[in-house]
């Protein structure tokens, strides 16, 4: 019985996160449009796009991995969700976070990337492979500040359990990592920009250079699966950052607000900055953000 309740809450949480991800994408794009003085899409447009993609009638496939790729990708997104505690203090909304700690989530991010890489590779399109190779190369550099930040907060809180990290930040904004460890937060937020794939780190999907990169060959249901994952992943990664640096959430409203603002940070930066070439972004990430991350650790060692 317990397991059924657990599964019920997990599914419910997944539905909420998915819907919030879609709505959030709509809101953000609406904001972008208004910022450039357009009316822009309706907030429901992501839903419609998703429905449309699932209602495409004909499809083609390049082989087995063409199926497995999106499945890996979505598993990656859903998996991170499954191992992520959502609401602090709530047994029901902590999903399967008892199975592993922060390390699990950090490494599980690769699962989806691998799937995308394999699926796109099976498509046989050179642009897919180019996109993947750029994405992977950039990701190595994006991970570096994040790793430093994680180590820094692990030193700070002496734990890698997300629940305990959130617990340590309770009791007001002065206890958030944002305040107690600003350098680590800064490093991780830069890394968040890369993880979200917005400018200046969006060379992977760069439509003008290599038509949309990895998912060039994907369409219809396959693309629908990828979009579903995107909606989940954006929210759940924002939730991860929220848990680590912004005090977590004690209820859904807080989660929704915080994840929105964290995600909006990446969009905001993306609106303002132009795009890096991939080697530029790597060089840049290996310099300033890495330095910030190292400082974040050094401060705790002193």
């Amino acid at each position: 019985m317990e397991i059924v309740t657990k599964l019920g809450f997990v599914l419910l949480g997944l539905v909420i996160i998915l819907n919030w991800g879609l709505i959030m994408a709509g809101i953000i794009r609406k904001i972008i449009a208004r910022a450039s003085m357009r009316r822009g899409i309706s907030i429901t447009q992501p839903y419609i796009n998703l429905f449309k993609n699932y209602s495409i009638r004909s499809q083609i496939t390049h082989g087995v991995m063409f199926y497995l790729g999106p499945v890996f990708r979505l598993s990656g997104g859903v998996g991170i969700f499954l191992f992520m505690p959502l609401i602090f203090g709530s047994e029901n909304w902590s999903n399967f976070s008892f199975a592993g700690d922060l390390v699990l989530i950090v490494y599980f991010m690769f699962f989806g990337m691998l799937g995308m890489a394999l699926g796109a590779g099976e498509g046989g399109h050179p642009y897919s492979a180019i996109g993947i190779s750029r994405g992977l190369a950039q990701f190595t550099a994006i991970e570096l500040p994040l790793t430093l930040a994680i180590i820094s907060i692990a030193i700070q809180y002496k734990t890698l359990s997300i629940t305990e990290i959130v617990a340590a930040q309770q009791g007001g904004i002065q206890n958030w990592t944002l305040v107690t460890n600003p350098l680590a937060t800064l490093a991780a937020m830069i890394s968040f920009l890369g993880a979200m794939g917005h400018a200046p780190f969006n060379v992977v999907m760069a439509p003008q250079e290599n038509p949309i990169g990895p998912p060039t060959e994907y369409h219809g249901t396959f693309l629908g699966v990828l979009q579903t994952n995107r909606a989940i992943l954006h929210v759940i990664e924002a939730v991860l950052w929220m848990n680590l640096f912004f005090g977590g959430a004690t209820n859904w409203i807080e989660l929704i607000l915080k994840s929105f603002f964290i995600y909006f940070w990446s969009v905001f930066v993306g609106m303002v900055f132009p795009r890096f070439r991939v080697d530029q972004s790597i060089s840049w990430l290996l310099k300033l953000p890495t330095l910030i991350g190292i400082l974040a650790i050094v401060i705790f060692l002193l």
């Binding site: 449009a33 419609i48 209602s55 060959e217 994907y218």
Partner: protein, 229 residues
């Protein structure tokens, strides 16, 4: 120079077969001979299939609504009309609010805008792109050139009527039509889709032989299987 038209398309296509599409023999790692016929080995040569609408009326209506409200346009410009598309996305006209978006790959697009005259050479690419789009797919043709050849009506290298080569859903007249007209065209297309009348893809599949013979009549170096999957 022979002045006679060769009306046997098979022979013509053989004549214009590209060198890289010629059958060839390569030697495998263990010394075995491998015969390669690129057209058969590299390309899927299935004919297009007719995909009937869903039986359930309500579901079909819902799907058509979703398709109509999410028109993903392939970024493919022909002729002078391609200069009319970018203003469409600018704040002044803002086609996004109608669910219109540009996609860089035909696999993900559902609308092909033929934005002006089509030389034979361009037509070939337009057909390939169209065929690579997935089943509910719609064609909007801009300008008189696509309707009757426009000012190029007697050119030796420009087609006169697009609907002999691709199933056109909406013609937007003008030389060129302004963005407002194109927006109106999108509106009409939406109506057509919602009414379930925009079955161009199925029409293309049903009348595949006719379309193909028209296409092959002028595109002599097709160098592909009949349908470009």
């Amino acid at each position: 120079m022979n002045n006679t038209h060769d009306h046997n398309p098979e022979k013509t296509h053989q004549k214009f077969l590209a060198p890289e599409n010629m059958p060839r023999t390569v030697i495998g790692p263990d010394g075995e001979e491998i015969h390669i016929d690129p057209l058969n080995d590299y390309f899927c040569s299935e004919r297009p299939k007719v995909h009937e609408p869903a039986n359930n009326k309500i579901i079909e209506k819902f799907m058509n609504w979703a398709r109509a409200e999410s028109l993903w346009v392939l970024g493919f410009g022909t002729g002078c009309g391609s200069i009319e598309i970018p203003p469409l996305l600018s704040p002044r006209f803002d086609a996004f609010r109608y669910g219109v978006a540009m996609r860089p790959t035909p696999r993900q697009s559902s609308v092909l805008i033929i934005s002006g005259y089509l030389a034979v050479k361009t037509l070939k690419r337009a057909i390939r792109s169209y065929e690579q789009m997935q089943n509910p797919k719609f064609v909007i043709a801009l300008g008189s050139c696509t309707i009757n050849g426009g000012m190029y009506w007697d050119s030796y290298n420009t087609i006169n009527r697009l609907d002999h080569y691709l199933p056109v859903d909406i013609y937007i007249a003008g030389c060129m039509p302004r963005p407002e007209a194109i927006l109106a065209g999108f509106d009409q297309l939406k109506k057509r889709i919602k009414e379930g009348r925009a079955e161009g893809a199925n029409e293309y599949a049903r009348n595949f032989d006719w379309y193909k013979s028209n296409q092959k009549k002028i595109i002599k170096d097709w160098n592909m299987p009949d349908y470009n999957w």
